[in-house]
């Protein structure tokens, strides 16, 4: 049924499309009618040929096209070069169109368009179209050229060692940056236009011999299901295609780094490069991939090994620390060593609020500060830092509104949450931190345990394009291989196979001739199997 409806719709759309008439003036009038009040569209009519008897017109949007290209290679060659040639009437005649397309326009990409609607769409993208009097076809000339921001270092993911190029707002530049890292015919790139009005270019990139076809199919299906007027940023697409949009945790990874995208493609994941944003989407994403940073693979393994573990310590720290403070001070002070408990009680003796209110005031203040600091940068931003950090923190303690211990807890929590590479996960944790604080205030330790249990259940129930979110931890017995690149990061030589969680078949990453002394027998067996395939 659905397919039939779709076919009908397609037919209808074709009917709406305006056919091109043989008369040039007619065509231009029609275009002007559709593009009324679009003063940035330029129409240029001119005559071609020795006797000036052929009428041509070009249409483009001012600012979107490379003007030098259009005037030098379209106008000059048609108006001047063509005039110098001695026209052979037999040759010209009805072949004028083909002649100008194949013989006179020295531009790399020239195509035919058979309907005016498409011509208008391509004009709006930034291409130039050439209309010929007496022909029912329109020439399409690739002439996009608008001001582009240069490639600069990614702001959100910087590294001390590693490539420093980041994505820009131009989709074409971004796909080039990725292709430069994968010189393989298996790297596929498919374009889709999403957004009824914005017609944003979305490139689906993947390695054909590695990627799991089910995931690819699902991505295509979900992208086709998007019916929205505009895509302004990759997050629009992210939120429209992710599995569970209610969850506070992201199920699709975003990155500004071409090397991260290339690494993900080599692992068998799919990348969505979206025009007009420097953020590229990677999917499927799991908790594990979201906590991997590019630098983990560039530094020495021993450092990365420790850094990963630190990151996995930072998650619970930023999640439960304030809740634990509330629970311990209000329900279980006996858990602390006597001296510490006495010290804690002494610092809190002047504090007029219960621990819960105290923690909420400080965490709330910090959230506001963080928000203010993100929106305003530069000199005012530093002022915010000084006012917030020094004045409020110091003054609040001296005034006796909060205890110094609380300030330490809040600072530690925030630093821990900033140490996570994924902003999305940090944001989800921020939300849950407050839920756990309430639970800790109501039911103490037990409440925190209940909250963590529900949080974990939510996390393990999530899926990203059919891949369980908490893999490999949620399938630790059968997916032991993936632990090599999770809570720890083993040397590259021990990661001879691609990770298992994506259920890909072609898993050989490093050939067996790369001598490694210690590889489990199971993985070697799988190697052989893969070879046969």
């Amino acid at each position: 049924m659905k397919r039939k409806d779709k076919e009908k719709k397609d037919q209808k759309q074709e009917e709406i499309e305006i056919p091109i008439s043989k008369d040039l003036n007619d065509n231009i009038d029609k275009m002007k009618e559709i593009l009324t009040d679009c003063d940035d569209v330029i129409y240029r009519e001119f005559n071609v040929g020795k006797r000036q008897n052929y009428r041509f017109a070009i249409v483009y949007v001012d600012g979107l096209v490379d003007k030098k290209l259009v005037s030098e290679y379209v106008l000059e060659s048609l108006m001047q070069v063509a005039r110098d040639e001695i026209p052979n009437p037999r040759m010209v005649g009805n072949n004028l169109y083909d002649l100008s397309k194949e013989g006179n326009i020295p531009i790399t990409e020239v195509k035919d368009l058979k309907c005016l609607k498409k011509a208008i769409d391509s004009v709006l993208i930034g291409e130039t179209i050439v209309l010929l009097d007496g022909f029912k076809e329109v020439l399409f000339i690739s002439s996009r050229g608008w001001p582009v921001r240069g490639i600069s270092e990614p702001v959100t993911e910087s590294v001390t060692r590693g490539p420093r190029d980041g994505f820009t707002e131009t989709g074409k530049v971004n796909t080039t940056l990725i292709r430069r890292r994968i010189r393989d015919p298996q790297l596929k790139l498919k374009y889709k236009q999403i957004g009824v009005k914005s017609k944003t270019d979305v490139a689906i990139m993947y390695l054909d011999d590695v990627v799991d076809k089910n995931i690819l199919e699902e991505v295509n299906k979900r992208l086709d299901d998007i019916k929205v007027d505009a895509i302004l940023e990759s997050s629009f697409i992210e939120q429209l295609i992710e599995d569970n949009w209610l969850s506070p945790f992201p199920q699709i990874q975003d990155t500004e780094r071409p090397d991260s995208v290339a690494a993900a493609l080599y692992e068998g994941r799919v990348a969505l490069v979206i025009d007009n944003t420097p953020f590229v989407l990677l999917l499927p994403a799991t908790w594990n991939t979201l906590l991997q940073a590019a630098e983990d693979y560039y530094g020495r393994w021993s450092a990365a090994f420790i850094v990963r573990m630190i990151r996995y310590v930072a998650v619970p720290l930023s999640l439960v620390l304030p809740a634990l403070y509330i629970a311990i001070t209000s329900y279980h002070p006996g858990m602390l060593p006597t001296q510490l408990a006495l010290y804690l009680a002494a610092t809190r003796i002047d504090v007029p609020f219960p621990a819960f209110i105290e923690a909420f005031i400080m965490e709330g203040t910090l959230e506001i500060l963080q928000e203010a600091g993100t929106r305003i940068s530069g000199p005012i931003g530093t002022t915010i830092g000084i006012v917030g950090g020094l004045v409020i923190g110091q003054a609040a303690v001296e005034a006796g509104i909060v205890s110094p211990f609380m300030i330490i807890i809040v600072a530690l929590t925030t630093i821990a949450s900033f140490s996570l590479p994924s902003f999305g996960i940090a944001a989800g944790i921020r939300l849950w931190r407050f839920i756990l604080m309430v639970l800790g205030a109501v039911l103490g330790f037990y409440g925190i345990v209940l909250g963590l249990m529900v949080l974990l259940t939510h996390l393990v129930s999530l899926k990203s394009f059919g891949i369980p979110y908490m893999e490999p931890y949620s399938n630790i017995i059968n997916d032991f291989y993936d632990l090599k690149d999770s809570i720890i990061r083993v040397p590259h030589k021990f990661m001879k196979l691609r990770p298992k969680y994506l259920r890909i078949k072609n898993r050989v990453r490093m050939d067996n001739s790369q001598k490694v002394n210690d590889v489990s027998s199971e993985s070697e067996g799988e190697n052989k199997d893969d070879r046969k395939q």
Binding site: M335, L336, T338, Y446, S474, I477
Partner: protein, 367 residues
């Protein structure tokens, strides 16, 4: 949309078995064993685990004969309908009673160690509500949950046990080999009760995505449990001695009261241990509710199997509040759940297994 396909792996299945067995039973097990057998409890645990392995083999063999079918559908295929309905009712009663006993005992523990002034009802209700959320997510999610919760909870526990090792007095184990064969036969039920929970195989095997070598995984999970049980029993016995262990209600938890880890931030780690242990009971409770939900909805021939734990909630809540104190809780609900457990873990599977053998032969003769 690639939704929940309700498939679990062999490893997750083994995890489910461990999570389902390892609940409140371990808390009182050492004192029960010490009461009846003293240090021969170790021997009893070994005998018990061997018997459990036999039982697990029967469970697995039975369910593997019917791929993709849970015990309800197997009963439909093998026995007359009235008996099948009766068995289903026994199953559901078992889940209700054991859920009630888990809820009551664990909330008593939470009240005793963590929240002295909070009413028991509040603890029970919050526990049930959060567990319904977990059980509602279905077997696939719970199977993944166990894989994360179990190592997270059990590894710190064993690290803390290491801190006790220097204090242990291994002479407390003696005397050994004091019980006769008759005592063993009589006391075998105590040990078998502690392994109740393996019957989840009857349900979970239906959801496996790959049944190769399942038996090995299942047996290894029982061996793993036996090792944990024996370790805890030995540590408790050598720490407290037989007489003291007998008198303690939950020796495993009181053991943690004696832990004094040198140089740590926390002085009394029992709060932490109770917290970790609450993870384990919540998990075992979720598994019980999930099983009850599956059995109930399969018996009623419903397609969606995940939400039927909700109608069980009020019954569990009321049952959990019936006993006046912990001793009564152990006596009544514990006893009920143990006898129903024996029925569904031992009697029904063996019956079904023998019928299936018989039917197969009959079918072969016909062909």
């Amino acid at each position: 949309m690639i939704g929940n396909n309700d498939k679990i792996t062999k490893g997750q299945n083994a995890g489910l078995i461990i999570g389902s067995v390892f609940g409140v039973g371990i808390l009182s097990l050492p004192s029960d064993l010490a009461k009846d057998f003293g240090s021969d409890g170790i021997m009893m645990l070994i005998i018990g685990s061997v018997l459990t392995i036999l039982l697990v083999m029967i469970h697995t063999k039975l369910t593997l004969k019917f791929t993709g079918k849970t015990v309800v559908e197997i009963m439909d295929a093998l026995i007359p309908k009235p008996i099948g309905v009766l068995f289903s009712i026994i199953f559901i009663l078992f889940y209700i009673f054991s859920a009630a006993s888990v809820v009551r005992i664990s909330s008593e523990i939470v009240k005793m160690f963590l929240l002295q002034n909070t009413p028991l009802e509040v603890i029970i209700i919050t526990m049930l509500i959060s567990n319904v959320y977990i059980a509602r997510k279905g077997i696939e999610t719970i199977a993944r949950l166990v894989q994360i919760i179990f190592p997270l909870a059990i590894i710190p526990f064993f690290i803390l046990l290491l801190a006790i090792v220097p204090d242990l007095d291994f002479t407390n184990i003696y005397p050994i080999f004091q019980v006769g064969p008759m005592d063993i036969a009589k006391g075998i039920k105590v040990v078998m009760f502690s392994f109740i929970g393996t019957e989840i195989i009857l349900i979970s095997t239906a959801y496996l995505n790959d049944t190769k070598k399942v038996l090995r995984y299942n047996i290894l999970s029982v061996v793993f449990l036996a090792v944990i049980y024996i370790t805890i029993f030995i540590v408790v016995l050598t720490q407290f001695g037989r007489i003291q262990t007998m008198d303690l209600l939950w020796p495993t938890l009181f053991l943690m009261k004696t832990v004094d880890v040198p140089g740590t931030f926390l002085e009394n780690v029992d709060g932490v241990v109770i917290g970790l242990w609450t993870f384990l009971t919540l998990q075992s409770l979720a598994i019980i509710l999930m099983q009850g939900s599956v059995i109930l909805s399969k018996s009623l021939k419903l397609k969606e199997t995940n939400f039927m734990s909700m109608p069980l909630l009020p019954i569990i809540y009321i049952l959990a509040l019936v006993p006046e104190n912990i001793a009564a809780a152990y006596e009544y609900i514990g006893l009920f759940s143990n006898y129903f457990g024996t029925a569904i873990a031992i009697v029904i599977p063996i019956l079904l297994f023998s019928i299936s053998l018989f039917k197969k032969k009959k079918g072969a003769n016909k062909a």
